[in-house]
């Protein structure tokens, strides 16, 4: 009797019962690399962005009646830029990498890097020095003519920002995003030479205009090096981040479109790769989601924009210049709800992150506490409109990518952080593996995990149960409910499968297309069926699309 409601739901959800099934999805995703005029440089304000996202945008969503109704009844707006297979095609935003085809360990370690770092055969010419940032930095040109931003670690947390930036960049690149080339380097101060027009820029943090700018003297450089290297080591560890190719035209936004980019037609809060980034960001605890940590680059030859993620020193166990803390990922930087709860309860309510221990066994990797991590409750430092729109389909897409990383791949990425203490590297690897598994266990228990549909031969449909394949469910306890419909809605076949193969009856070829509804059944699992559309081809069948449901 217990399965009766589920059966009823299964039937109801098959779009209209017996009359007909929904037509196959049709979607055309426009390429976004058409030549465009060079856009103006965007200079968003951090403080306006925070006010907008934290207050203004929240109120706007409350006033949006259709959106609110859809959320209440469980039919939220779906992402716009997905194809008929509910996937994100390659674009200037995203490239399918490890999520679709496993990368080799060497590819993971290399990431976006094209070299082994700045050229060490010649001098590094200093162009610019940033003196008042939390982490002092300088811009250099190496002998190859490549420009790099050199950022030093704080002396008390050596290896923390540089290692974190490098590891996170490798993982985000493998996930499919555009990121800069980051290298851990050991800088020989003797290698530095001053450009004749070198500039000292003071107070440039947070994208604001510098409070002062003047030509730089050797003494300025000396002071910075002393600050970065108080113990006077012969080689100073630092992060070298290669300048992105093209002309920078400012950051991209987590909502709306860039109006001076005609290629940018999908509202960013409705782009799958940005909505689904929630899952990836929660994995890496990449909470610093301000627009400043993104960048649009204009290619003057091809004349289109490429969209990058930058600055990952506030992810994993790091909070830029110091270790992270239990609050990071648990609450927004200014969390109205949290604050109101405390105000009203006179402080008697204590949040979990206040109770959490703050031990940091390895300062080089920062705070790696995972006890409080709940995949759906994770929060960025500021509300992100695209994350607020994330649906289960977006979550499935993100989870698919996160769980595609094997333990070896994660260890390979962590090895690029060049940590001097192997125990620190191991603890970071364990942290990432544990978070990945929590994400997998949580989301794969709530989503239809059937994926990678393919015609094995002319009459056999094969698919993969990602939860089973990636170790989040037991194949022995799993069965697959299957129902085949004609376009008219008539049921052609109904049974439970023991494995992930369905043999198609040649007699069904008389229909223009058929829809196969599939749903895994196992303990503690609740999801909705997926519809896979097949069209009769010259020999056998062709998969023409699929419909996932929230």
């Amino acid at each position: 009797m217990s399965c009766c409601p589920k059966t009823l739901l299964f039937l109801l959800l098959l779009a209209g019962g017996c009359s007909s099934v929904q037509p196959p999805p049709q979607s055309y995703i426009y390429p976004d690399d058409h030549p465009i005029p060079r856009p103006k440089k965007r200079k968003p304000s951090l403080v306006v962005e925070i006010l907008d996202k934290s207050i203004s945008h929240q109120i706007k969503q409350l006033f949006d009646l259709p959106r609110t109704v859809r959320k209440l009844v469980g039919h939220p707006y779906q992402a716009l830029n997905v194809d008929a297979f509910d996937e994100v095609p390659n674009s200037t935003w995203f490239t399918n990498r490890n999520g679709t085809a496993p990368m080799s360990l060497e590819e993971i370690r290399r990431g976006p890097n094209q070299y082994y770092g700045p050229d060490t055969t010649g001098a590094w010419t200093v162009l610019k020095l940033k003196s008042t940032d939390a982490i002092p930095g300088l811009t250099i040109v190496d002998a190859r003519g490549h420009q790099y931003l050199i950022k030093f670690d704080p002396p008390e947390f050596s290896e923390l920002p540089s290692g974190t930036q490098t590891v996170a960049a490798k993982l985000l690149y493998a996930a499919g995003y555009n990121v800069p080339e980051n290298y851990v380097v050991w800088l020989d101060p003797k290698r530095l030479q001053m450009a004749t027009d070198a500039v000292l820029s003071v107070g440039t943090n947070d994208n604001r205009a510098p409070t002062s700018k003047r030509s730089m003297a050797r003494a300025d450089l000396q002071r910075l090096l002393e600050r970065a290297n108080p113990q006077g080591q012969p080689l100073i560890r630092a992060l070298a981040s290669r300048a992105l190719p093209g002309i920078p035209v400012g950051p991209w936004s987590y909502k709306g479109i860039r109006r001076d980019d005609p290629n940018d037609i999908y509202l960013h809060e409705h782009r799958r790769e940005i909505r689904g980034f929630y899952i990836i960001a929660s994995w890496l605890n990449h909470a610093n989601m301000k627009e400043e940590n993104t960048q649009d680059m204009y290619d003057p030859q091809a004349r289109f924009l490429t969209h990058y993620l930058t600055n990952f020193d506030g992810s994993i166990g790091s909070n830029s210049t110091r270790p992270s803390n239990p609050r990071r990922g648990q609450a927004n930087s200014f969390d109205l709800k949290d604050s109101l709860i405390r105000l009203v309860t006179l402080g008697l309510y204590v949040h979990d992150y206040e109770r959490a221990p703050r031990s940091i066994p390895h300062p080089s990797v920062g705070y790696l506490g995972n006890d409080l991590f709940k995949p759906r409750a994770w929060k960025a430092m500021y509300p992100v409109p695209a994350f607020e729109n994330m649906t289960r389909r977006d979550a499935f897409w993100g989870t698919k990518i996160v769980t595609s990383f094997t333990n070896d791949q994660i260890a390979a990425a962590v090895s690029t952080g060049a940590y001097s203490n192997p125990a620190a590297a191991s603890s970071m690897t364990r942290f990432l593996i544990e978070r990945r598994d929590r994400i997998g266990h949580y989301w794969f228990a709530r989503l239809n995990t059937l994926d990678r549909f393919k015609m094995a031969d002319y009459g056999t449909l094969e698919f993969t149960d990602l939860a089973v394949a990636r170790g989040y469910a037991d194949s022995a306890e799993t069965r697959y409910r299957c129902q085949v419909f004609a376009a008219t809605g008539a049921t052609l076949f109904k049974d439970k499968l023991k494995n992930t193969v369905l043999t198609l009856d040649p007699a069904w070829r008389q229909h223009a297309h058929i829809a196969v509804a599939l749903l895994a059944q196992r303990p503690h699992y609740s999801a909705r069926p997926i519809l896979v559309y097949l069209q009769a081809a010259e020999k056998g069948w062709r998969i023409i699309g699929l419909r996932r449901r929230d």
Binding site: P25, Q26, S27, Y28, Y30, P31, H34, P35, S45, L46, V47, V48, L51, D52, I55, S56, I59, K60, F63, D64, L65, P66, R67, V69, R70, V73, H75, Y77, L80, D206, R208, A209, T211, I257, P262, N263, I265, Y266, L267, H270, F334, D335, D338, S339, R342, L343, L346, G347, L348, V350, E354, R355
Partner: protein
């Protein structure tokens, strides 16, 4: 709901496929790409009233806030205003100031004026009801410029046409209110020496000229003889020597969670004219902080203040120990209770709301005393209240509180001091 409307809603929300909007493929790079809709046109129509309301709020309130924030943060308007009101070499400048304590005014500064001392002139005017004004000139030599400690010379002129005096003791009544006019000049020399990271010693030498007259405007009629306080209607001159010891053993100076602070003040004021108004001043305050759990902190403050007049001298009423105002018994008017001595206690509980914002509840009690032997359970006055406190590490603390007593409810805002 009628089935027709229900069907229409269904159509609008669930069946009208937004994907239909993205229909034709792009056939020319010169043609602008269509912007795909994330919802159908009927849904857009339903959203219009809500969006209209939002746009009104956005244009009228939020935009203003954003422009303000943009101006302050990105355009650095405050920095620019600061630069505009400062000379190019940074030596001299002017700054505005405003608070409930000192009113509204300006601060002028000039660095390295005399013997490398930094000069400041503060002029402020109080509200229209008090009509007070204060002009204070300071010359400060930080530690090491002249002496091992900091040295400060102050000339302070203060005029308040309308001050309150309710009579002596905790039993004084509101109806006994007398207004008096006060005009004074202080010349002060103060030496401050840090003995250790926790201990600071202040030594002072003051000349004090004061003119106290009864405000003739009100209440009308002669002042009853029992209420005629010593010091009224006199021109008095004093020389005062004082020493203050501050001890602070707390974890976070502006928001302690554990530790204690103590202040001890001892001063002798000698009349240098015919008035027999010499007196001794003594103030002792101690405060203990204890963290209950996760930065929820309970603190207990105890204090006593005394004015002792030797021989035939009397303590002028304006120098009496007082309760009420912005620090002790905040639910009462400033100087509401006065006498030779006072004892007070405060229990407060503070809890974090946001990183630098704290909530606060307090209960205060106190009474004035004629003699130490008067200390008993009777006639204690109390006030309670709560507020919000914004603090910056190693910087200032801003406190907004409401205090309630049996006489009135008072609102305070305060740039907090340690005591």
């Amino acid at each position: 709901m009628p089935p027709g409307i229900f069907s229409a809603l269904l159509l609008v929300f669930f069946l009208a496929p937004p994907v239909l909007a993205q229909s034709t493929a792009l056939d020319s790079t010169s043609t602008p790409l269509p912007r795909p809709r994330y919802r159908s046109l009927p849904e857009e129509a339903i959203a219009v009233p809500g969006m209209a309301l939002y746009i009104i709020a956005e244009r009228s309130v939020f935009s203003l806030g954003k422009y303000l924030a943009y101006g302050i943060w990105n355009l650095r308007l405050l920095d620019r205003a600061k630069a505009l009101s400062t000379t190019a070499d940074g030596r001299a400048g002017v700054r505005p100031l405003s608070s409930t304590h000192i009113g509204t005014g300006a601060r002028l500064f000039y660095k390295n004026l005399f013997l490398n001392g930094d000069a400041t002139l503060i002029s402020s005017w109080g509200s229209s009801t008090t009509k007070s004004q204060r002009h204070k000139f300071q010359l400060y030599w930080p530690s090491g410029r002249i002496l091992p400690g900091g040295l400060k010379f102050t000339a302070d002129y203060y005029q308040r046409p309308k001050s309150n005096f309710y009579g002596m003791g905790s039993l004084s009544k509101l109806i006994d209110l007398v207004y008096f006019h006060r005009e004074s000049l202080y010349l002060r020399l103060n030496y401050r020496r840090r003995l250790s990271p926790q201990l600071v010693l202040n030594a002072g030498l003051n000349y004090h000229y004061i003119d106290i007259r009864r405000n003739s405007s009100r209440p009308p009629g002669p002042l009853p003889a029992p209420l005629l306080p010593p010091g009224l209607a006199t021109l008095a001159q004093y020389v005062e020597t004082s020493a203050t010891l501050n001890a602070s053993f707390v974890d976070v100076p502006n928001s302690p969670t554990h530790g204690h602070r103590t202040l001890l003040y001892l001063g002798y004021t000698q009349s240098v004219d015919d008035n027999a108004l010499s007196h001794l001043k003594l103030l002792f305050i101690t405060e203990q902080f204890r963290e209950l759990f996760y930065r929820r902190t309970l603190s207990l403050r105890l204090g006593t203040e005394w004015r002792l007049a030797p021989g035939a001298n009397e303590v002028p009423f304006y120098e009496l120990s007082s309760l009420g105002g912005t620090e002790y018994l905040r639910g009462y008017e400033t100087g509401r209770f006065r006498d030779r001595g006072s004892a007070f206690a405060k229990v407060s509980y503070k809890y974090p709301i946001w990183k630098l914002l704290e909530g606060m509840l307090f209960y205060e009690t106190g009474r004035t005393l004629r003699h130490p032997g008067d200390l008993n359970r009777k006639h204690w006055k109390s006030a309670y209240g709560g507020g919000l406190r914004f603090w910056v590490p190693e910087g200032f603390a801003f406190e907004q509180s409401v205090a309630i007593s049996d006489e009135e409810t008072r609102l305070h805002f305060d740039l907090s001091t340690l005591f």
